[in-house]
Each structure stands twice: as C-alpha cells, then as structure tokens.
C-alpha cells in the first residue's frame, strides 16, 4: 500500500523485458504513469511499440520485470496470482480488439460472466448484465450469440462485460481496430458516455481520431513514453464531432 494521491493507477519505472543478453527486448522501458480518477488516457504508437504489453501490465494480466505499479491503492507488482485475480475481478475491466467473447454464450451470458466469477448470485448477475446491455443499446440482442452480432455490436457487448463489476479502470486495447467506420462511431459514443459518467479509461489505439477524444494523449515508441499531450476534447462531451465521424 502506498500513497497514490488521487491516482487510480500509478506506475514508476515500469519495465517488461523478454530474452536476455544480445536478444534482450524491452517491450516496456521505464514507464512512469499517473492516471486520475475519471480521466481518459489514450496511448498511441506504431505496431510493436509495447502498447498492448503496457496495458496488460497495468491490468495485472502480465507481470513486470521491474518497477512499481499501484492500482486502486494496491501494489500490483508484488501480488500473487490469486490476489491479482481478485483485483482484476473488482478493479479492472478489459476491452480487447478481438472482442474475446465466448462463442457458445449469448450476449447477456457473456456480460454476466465476470459477475459470476466474482461470486455474485446468478439472478443479480443477470439483472446487472441486462441493465448494461440496455445501456449499450443491445437489450434486444441479449439472447443472440456473438456470431449473430455485427462487429460493433460485439464490441459493445465486450464493453458491457468490462463494466459489469463496476471497475475502477477500463483498459481498452485497440477497441475499434476490427471495426468499420459506423461501428467505430457506436463505440466512440459509448466511451463518451462512460467518460461523462466518470469512468476511468485507458485506451490503446492506432486511431488518432479516438486518441483525440481523450483527456491526455501519450505517444509511445520502443517501449518508452516519448511524448505526452493534455487535450481538451475529452471533456467537451462531443467525441463524435471532434473525431470527424458525424
């Protein structure tokens, strides 16, 4: 435990290395980061620069080689697997580029899954999942399998799933990477709503239009932060028009 101030998430000297000797690769190289509650942070950079690895480190899916990491007031880098799992259950929601929905589960079953894993009663989990599907505009698609949904709809289901445990931070890894323009708009609007509702968001993206909607834009190259820009777009509440998509 440490004093993290108002930060929901804090990293100091965060490193992730693969290989050794001449084959050593620093996927994340001495990253310092503070994310305030309710803030939306976009991380941009070329493919292979370490964005996704950073996101997985921040969410406790991967373990850092060095550095310190706090999430919701708890130090992650020294946690055991069980404690990390517990933390992910309550404090982190993931949105992946490939959606990662269970093919054999319906939309509502996918959304309620984290709540069930957290030990919530089945009825309560179902109520919460249905409400979230309603919130993302998919109440009428609750009983559909992912294969019967469009890409944008799948990603909205994934976002609903990320929110089911009321996480301290939502980590989105290229959330529009597999979507067409129309679906991208749908997702952007959803993130806008989340932002307005005070949800902390960290979005890794290639798409500058999405990055432009954030409170803060961090550029990354070769595992390190090379630039950081504070934007105003994220607080205007008009993400779609800023991104030029409407």
């Amino acid at each position: 435990m440490s004093d993290t101030g108002a930060s929901v998430l804090r990293a100091r000297g965060l490193r992730k290395e693969y290989g050794q000797g001449e084959g050593l690769v620093r996927a994340v190289d001495e990253v310092d980061l503070d994310v305030a509650s309710g803030e939306t942070v976009a991380v941009m950079g070329p493919s292979g620069c370490g964005k996704s690895t950073l996101l997985h480190l921040l969410g406790g899916l991967d373990r850092p080689t060095g550095g310190e990491l706090w999430l919701a007031g708890q130090r992650l880098d020294q946690m055991g697997e069980r404690a990390l799992a517990r933390l992910r259950r309550g404090a982190v929601g993931f949105v992946f580029q490939a959606f990662h929905l269970m093919d054999e589960l319906t939309a509502v079953e996918n959304v309620e899954l984290p709540a069930l894993l957290a030990g919530q009663p089945a009825r309560a989990a179902r109520r919460r999942a249905s409400a979230l599907l309603d919130r993302v505009g998919l109440a009428d698609r609750a009983a559909f399998l992912p294969s019967a949904l469009s890409g944008g709809q799948r990603q909205r289901v994934a976002i609903a799933r990320a929110l089911v445990s009321e996480p301290a931070v939502v980590l989105a890894d290229e959330p529009t990477g597999n979507l067409d323009s129309q679906a991208t708009v749908e997702v952007l609007r959803l993130f806008e709503d989340l932002h307005e509702a005070g949800q902390t968001l960290i979005i890794v993206t290639h798409d500058s239009r999405i990055a432009a909607t954030a409170d803060r834009l961090i550029s990354m190259r070769d595992g390190a932060f090379i630039d950081e820009t504070r934007l105003t777009g994220g607080s205007t509440g008009n993400l779609g028009s800023l991104a030029g998509l409407t």
Partner: protein, 636 residues
C-alpha cells in the same frame, strides 16, 4: 509412386515433429494388443507339460472308476468348478461284482496292460489346523507298471507314510516329514508326487453332488478334495462299512488315440456297477484348466483394454488433428487434394497402429511363458507360445480397427475443412469443431461455484470428449467391479468349504486379474491425462479469458479437473452393473455375489479421485500459462 513417396515423407516429418502424442498413441494400442496376444497365445500351452508328466509316470490311457458305496472319483469337469455330473452310485456293490467289472475291462480288446484295481478311501485330513477332504488311494510298495506317480520330493508310500499330490500339499502347506491325520489316524508325509491319471487339486469332484466347488448342500457336499497315496492296507483301514472303498483301474491301450472310443464302448452304462471310464485326452484337457482359466479372465479383459485404447486414441487423434489444422490448410494451399490430406492423416495413425501391433505381439509372446506355468500338478515346462498367422491377423486387425475407428472421422473432417479457415486458425484455438452450446447446462452452471461453473461449461463445449471420458471410466470401473465381484464370490462361496486351504486356481485368477487391472488402470491413466491435456489445449483461450475476467489460476485448474470428473461420475456408476454383469457372464452361471456397498463405494470414489488428481496435473500446467500471449495471439 510419387504420391506414396510424398505421403511417406509427410508422415515421417509429422511424427518427428510431434513425437510425444505419437508415443502415447503407440502405448495405448500396445497395451491393448499385448493383452489380446497374451490371451490368444495361452491356448494349448499346457499340453506339453501334461505329456511330459504322462511319460514320467507311465500314465494310463483310460482310468476306470468302479464304485463301492462311497464317493467315486469322477470324470473331468467340463467347466472348472461348475460342471454337473451324473447320478451317484449309491447302492453297495459286492466285491465279486467289482472283480467281474475289473476283469471285463482288463480283458477287453485293445487293452495291452493295466494296474489295479486300487482301493480308494474317502477321508478327512487334518494338518496345520486345516481340515480338508482327501481321497486316499491304496498302492503297493512296488512301482506299478501303469500310473506310477512321479515322486518329486521324499519317498514312495510306506506303512503309516502318506504321499500327497503336489498341488494338494501346497494348498495344505505341508511338506515331507510333516505330520497329518487321516480320519484321526496319524500319518507322516513320506513324499510329494504328481500324476497324469487324475485331476489336480482343486478340480477333483465327488458324487453325489453337482459342481466341484460351489452350491452343494447336504452331507455329501462336493468340496475341494485333495488326493493322496497310502499303502493298500492303510487305504482299507481308512474305509468303513458306512463308507466302503471304491476302486481305480489304470489301463494302457494298444492305440492310445482310441481311448475316447474305448471309454464310450465299455463304460458309463446305466447300471449301478458300471464303471466310469476317463480317457487320457479328457484329463489332459482338464489339466490345462488352470491356464484356460487365465484365458477366460484375460480374453474379456483384452476387449475391455481394446475399448479403452479406442477411447484413448480417439482423444489423442482429435488433439493431434486439432494441432495440425494449419498444416492441413498449408497442404491444401500448395495443391494437396482433400484425399491427400485424409490419406496422410490416416496413414500416420495406421503406421503407429502397426508399430503398436508389432510391439503388442512381441510383449504378449514374451510374457506368455511367465503366466503359462501349468502349476504344481504337472512336471515339465510349457512350450513357447505359438504366435500363429491367425493370432497375428487378429491382433493387427484390432490395432488397425482401433486406429481407424478413432481417426477416420477427424481425418475426413480435416479433409473437408476450408483452406482459408484452416490457415486462419491459430494453433491454440485449432479445435476442428466449434464449441457446442448447451443452454440448460450453461444456465445450471451459473448457479454453481466457480470451479464447477467453469468445469460444466467446458463439458458442454465438447460433449463428444466428455462421452469418451465417460466410456473410458465406465470400462475401467467395469473391470474393477468385476474383480471385486470375483473376490466377493470366492470369499463367500469358499467359506467353510475350502477350510482355509489355498486354491491354486483362485490364486492364479487373482494374479491374472491383478495384471489385467494394472493394464486397465494404466490405460485409464493415459486416457485421463490425454483427455485433460486435450481439454487444456482446447480451452486455452477460454481459460485465459476467464482469468482476464477475474478467475484465479486455482479456479481454472479446478474447473479443468472438474470437466474431467463430471463425465467420470456416470462412467464410474455405470461400471457397477456392467462389472457385475461381466463377471456373471465370465463365470458361466456361478451364483454371483454382489460386492459389499463399501467396496463399491471405495471403487467409485477411488476412480473419481484418481481422475481428479490425474486431470489436475495438465490442468495446473495449463492454468499457470501467462494469459497475455494467448489473448494477444488472436489479435496479431
């Protein structure tokens, strides 16, 4: 020619690339084919020891039993323990009539020599606190020209000195120099001997009665009766007015092969004094009962092992096929036809099946002599088991059928897979089929603790694999319950009958059942690990996602283990009636005793615990893999 060469090259490369699963597949089929080979090669291996014993004892071609009024040695039972014999000779027979019957036989055409008639007294022997029935045959001190038992230890009979048949002596646990009592009279064990004129303990049967071992009520109950030789004077002294001696006549024929015809022509008439004639061929056949008994245990066991091998190979083949989906796509992309793909996949498993068949034949042939000992009743050693062309054909056919039955469907499915989707398939997610959706199971699982939730959903995803696991565990449980039924039946039926004597047949059966149980358990272990590993591979993505969404590695491990245990439950329960039924069929009409509930409960719980532990090993390895690379792989 080019296509054959290409197929051969692809098969060779593939086997080199993935030697582990190939080795497991060979092991599974080898276990089944070795068991089958063992069952087949045991046929007839005891004929040689019987002939050696016959030569060493100048054994008779026909044994004639002439009843007194007491028990009479009978013919060989047709199905050990279980045969029913003819009516007893109940009326006293005058000595003159006995002499007349003996004279008629010794002067019958075709008889070249004879010895006897020798008096046989029924007695009760007590030794080392054990009590058993014995037939004591009275012999002169000088060797008989026909049927002179071969003394393997000690000396021949003397006044007050008894010679025990070797299997009976072993069952009693006495040796040369020990003291025994017959009908209360003390005797010293002068020697141990074998004979080719009689059936070894415990196959001797008595009139009146029915089976040799079981279910015989009343004062004349047939029991496990031993055999011994004493002097003629001692034999007569052991008889009484209530139990007068019967008589045995040993005949040599000019044509030994004609013994069955001689027996039919001169014996078994429907008169009280008609002798019972037993040709040597019948005794030889019954002397091999010990090994025949082994066969009756091993043969159904071999088929059980075959079924288990099919289950193992199906899981392995499915897993191997899933791993190679991308290779299938590549093969098609560079011009391979669907037939080429199917042929390559089938050829690979057929090659492995043939290797396993060869290994199974070799192991069965080498193990044959170890279990083909005819027991203490005979001298000499069994010949090398003959691996004949029909045996080779049957074993190879079994291996090929196992391989084909389990790989044909995946091979055809792979051949039909679209090239694009096969190439797009990521290695960890290469299940040849999409996961199944089972709404009721999914709804039910939502109400369960996390490990059971994950386990039930994994079962629902792959119902075919779950069915194979159920079948596999059912086969093993069937074997185990059959063994328990055997023990329960033997324990109950022999209490108060065998009087604590070791039964060599039961002992041998137990050895065979132990071997069989080890084979079945080994195959089940293999199967459980393979099924768990296939589940781990298949569920890598689902498990990684569950962990990303908050499940701990321990919960995922328990979930994968639960996915193995859940289908094992019906399998283990199904094994109870199947095992009892199997034993009832194998025991050919013996009243089967259902094992105590505590035994059955231990068998079921033990099987399930073993499955859980075995599944937990690959599950634990799988659940501890880093989540990040798995989730990123699909994005890449």
């Amino acid at each position: 020619m080019g296509r054959i060469r290409l197929t051969g090259r692809l098969v060779r490369r593939d086997l080199r690339r993935r030697p582990g699963p190939a080795l497991l597949l060979v092991l599974a089929i080898t276990a089944a084919t070795a068991t089958l080979t063992l069952g087949l090669v045991l046929r007839g291996v005891t004929n040689q020891p019987y002939q050696q014993t016959r030569a060493a004892t100048n054994g008779p071609d026909v044994v004639a039993q002439i009843a007194g009024s007491g028990p009479v040695r009978t013919g060989p039972p047709r199905g050990r323990h279980l045969s029913r014999h003819g009516p007893p000779a109940s009326a006293p027979v005058a000595h003159a009539q006995i002499a007349a019957e003996a004279r008629a036989l010794t002067h019958a055409p075709g008889v070249s020599r004879y010895s006897g008639p020798f008096p046989v007294a029924s007695a009760v022997v007590r030794a080392r606190g054990l009590t058993a029935d014995v037939e004591a045959e009275g012999r002169s001190l000088t060797p008989a020209s026909v049927d002179q038992p071969k003394v393997t230890e000690g000396t021949w009979v003397s006044s007050g000195g008894i010679v025990l048949e070797r299997t009976f002596a072993e069952a009693l646990g006495v040796g040369v120099g020990d003291r025994v009592r017959l009908n209360g009279r003390p005797f010293r064990v002068a020697g141990i001997a074998v004979t080719a004129a009689d059936l070894p303990y415990p196959n001797l049967c008595y009139y009146p009665g029915g089976s040799c071992m079981f279910d015989l009520p009343g004062p004349f109950a047939s029991r496990n009766v031993g055999f011994a030789w004493v002097t003629e004077a001692d034999a007569r002294a052991l008889a009484s007015a209530q139990a007068p001696p019967s008589y045995v006549l040993d005949l040599k024929l000019k044509d030994p092969a004609a013994a069955p015809a001689f027996a039919s022509a001169h014996g078994n008439r429907p008169t009280p004094t008609s002798p019972i004639l037993i040709p040597w061929q019948a005794i030889q056949s019954s002397s091999g009962l010990l090994v025949q008994d082994e066969q009756s245990v091993i043969s159904p066991g071999a088929w059980l092992a075959g079924l288990l091998a099919i289950a193992s190979v199906a899981v392995l083949a499915g897993g191997r096929m899933a791993e190679r989906t991308r290779r299938v796509g590549l093969l098609k992309a560079i011009g391979g036809t669907p037939e080429t793909v199917a042929v390559v996949l089938l050829a690979e498993n057929l090659v492995l099946a043939l290797v396993a068949a060869a290994a199974g034949l070799a192991i069965g042939w080498l193990a044959g002599p170890l279990v083909a000992s005819p027991g203490a009743a005979l001298v000499g050693t069994p010949g090398a088991p003959a691996v004949t062309l029909p045996i080779v054909g049957l074993v190879v056919a079994m291996a090929v059928v196992v391989a084909l039955a389990s790989t044909l469907a995946p091979a055809i499915r792979a051949a039909r897979t679209s090239t694009v989707s096969a190439l797009a398939t990521v290695s960890y997610h290469a299940g040849a089929r999409s996961p199944r959706r089972r709404p009721r199971l999914i709804a039910l699982s939502a109400r369960l603790p996390v490990p059971l939730l994950l386990g039930l959903r994994l079962v629902a995803r792959r119902p075919r694999r779950a069915l194979l696991s159920t079948a596999s565990v059912a086969v093993t449980a069937t074997g185990i319950v059959a063994v328990l039924a055997f023990h329960a039946t033997v324990r109950l039926k022999t209490v108060g009958l065998a009087n604590g004597l070791n039964d060599p047949v039961v002992d041998r059966d137990e050895q065979m059942l132990l071997i069989l149980t080890v084979v079945l358990v080994a195959l089940t272990v293999l199967n459980a690990i393979c099924a768990a590993w296939a589940t781990v591979l298949d569920a890598r993505h689902a498990s990684a996602l569950a962990r990303a969404l908050g499940a701990s590695p321990q919960q995922v491990t328990a979930g994968i283990a639960a996915a193995q245990v859940l289908p094992a439950v019906p399998g283990a329960l199904l094994g109870i009636p199947l095992g009892i039924g199997l034993f009832a069929v194998a025991a050919q009409g013996v009243g089967v005793v259902v094992p105590p509930v505590s035994w059955l409960a231990a068998a079921v719980l033990g099987t399930l615990a073993a499955v859980a532990v075995l599944a937990a090993i690959p599950a634990r390895i799988g659940a501890r893999r880093p989540v990040s690379p798995i989730l990123q792989a699909e994005t890449a």
